[in-house]
Symmetry: D2
């Protein structure tokens, strides 16, 4: 539900993103999620010190999508203005789960799921989410430390 | 597992499909699934009468993706030759579920899920999968009529 | 040159739009031009009566790209904020030529060319650009009626 | 003209590549050219020694598109099988010009132009096309050494 979301990113559907049935091609919602999560990271570090911003670039490189899903309730069309809500629903030792939702005005079009794993840049093995990143995210989401 | 698949479609990763980490952008796997299912439909009606081929065009227009998912096990890279296995795992009254898997040589990169609903072209409401289409698919997949 | 442009549209480079060399894939500049020209049409009719807005939808459907070109001076990278200038440089009996330019801050990255032909929706043959559309465009561009 | 081409690459138009008018989005032809030129490079070194194949990887990284253009004669549609002819028409000291053409059956859909410049990987300045690459290309195209 819309009220569950503190963070939204808006974008307009491009001509090249709709198919011959004038609906957004199903794979493009993952593109929209990706655009929204980039803005989520930007919002997360807005107002933080330069040092945090530098760290963020490294953290982002260490986060890998391991699962993505989309449920399609209704279609987006050319030139629609979409609002993409992005919300962390769980943060574990090395993984985090986001549940994006897409709205067009009052209409709820899409619900998604994105699971990321934090990996050690050298070994490629799952590694603990850095404490600073975890604290930033819990604060941003106003979640309790247990992260659920 | 590879042995579960009777149908495969091959394609080569394009330059524009990989990102700055030289891995296929996560949303592009839904594009690959879509390419593979188009070829699946083509294989389904190969050798059928012209009448079936005409019907197929209408059936395809009536099938809507309601859910799509991807689990990422390993990454595809530029110029990799991928094999996309496509398999019907369940056909209900008005819905069908496919489980695509993507391989690069012996490596299993991705497992997906695609759920389609057959809709009445006029009302947009879920409608029974036409008997001829159901029979074609069960035959193609060598599945028992209950479809599970 | 930047000063030649009255209309600009801004956008941010998406992760999926850059390639493994971390530069925007060359074909994506035509996508950016297309996004910008959609906004150009929107700006053209902003403040016009409802009747004009309805006509615009039909006019847009009758305009076909017959030629497109891109000259690459410098590269755009992930997350860059680009400004796309769009400008009509010539309007003939049935054709029009736009020269888009893309900037990132002070840097001039790309110059393009887009030639559209107005076609009769039924015959598909080139047809005169409607007088109302021509007048709107010349006014918007503050061009003299000869249109050059 | 088709007879001018010794090298063709075939591909089938994907659902996600056509727009709501059921024609291939204009920017996607640059994507098709890029796919075809990748295959052109592959054909160029087929049958060459391993050493040449290794060099090719470096040469490709040093070639930058500086200009691209498309002329649209007719439209490609979903599921069309396209043939993309690729041909070197000029090779200068540090630049090369290709003229791709796209056909669907007997119909000539698109003519393009691609200009690449060979750049020094370190300085980024235009550098002479390596002799081995030049010789390979002239041989492949059966062009005289002056390259015009």
């Amino acid at each position: 539900m819309r009220e569950d979301y503190a963070f939204f990113h808006s974008l307009r559907v491009r001509w090249a993103e709709v198919d011959r049935q004038d609906v957004v091609f199903n794979g493009n919602y993952l593109l929209y999620f990706d655009v929204a999560i980039t803005e989520y990271w930007r919002a997360l570090i807005a107002g933080q010190e330069a040092k945090v911003k530098e760290q963020m670039a490294g953290w982002m490189q260490s986060l890998y999508v391991v699962k993505a899903g989309v449920e399609y309730h209704a279609s987006a069309h050319f030139d629609d203005e979409l609002e993409i809500g992005m919300r962390l629903t769980k943060i574990g030792r090395s993984s985090m789960r986001f549940v994006p939702e897409i709205y067009c005005g009052a209409e709820h079009l899409v619900t998604g799921e994105l699971i990321y794993v934090y990996k050690d840049p050298e070994s490629g093995a799952p590694a603990p989410v850095p404490q600073e990143l975890r604290a930033l995210m819990l604060g941003f989401e106003k979640m309790a430390p247990e992260g659920t």
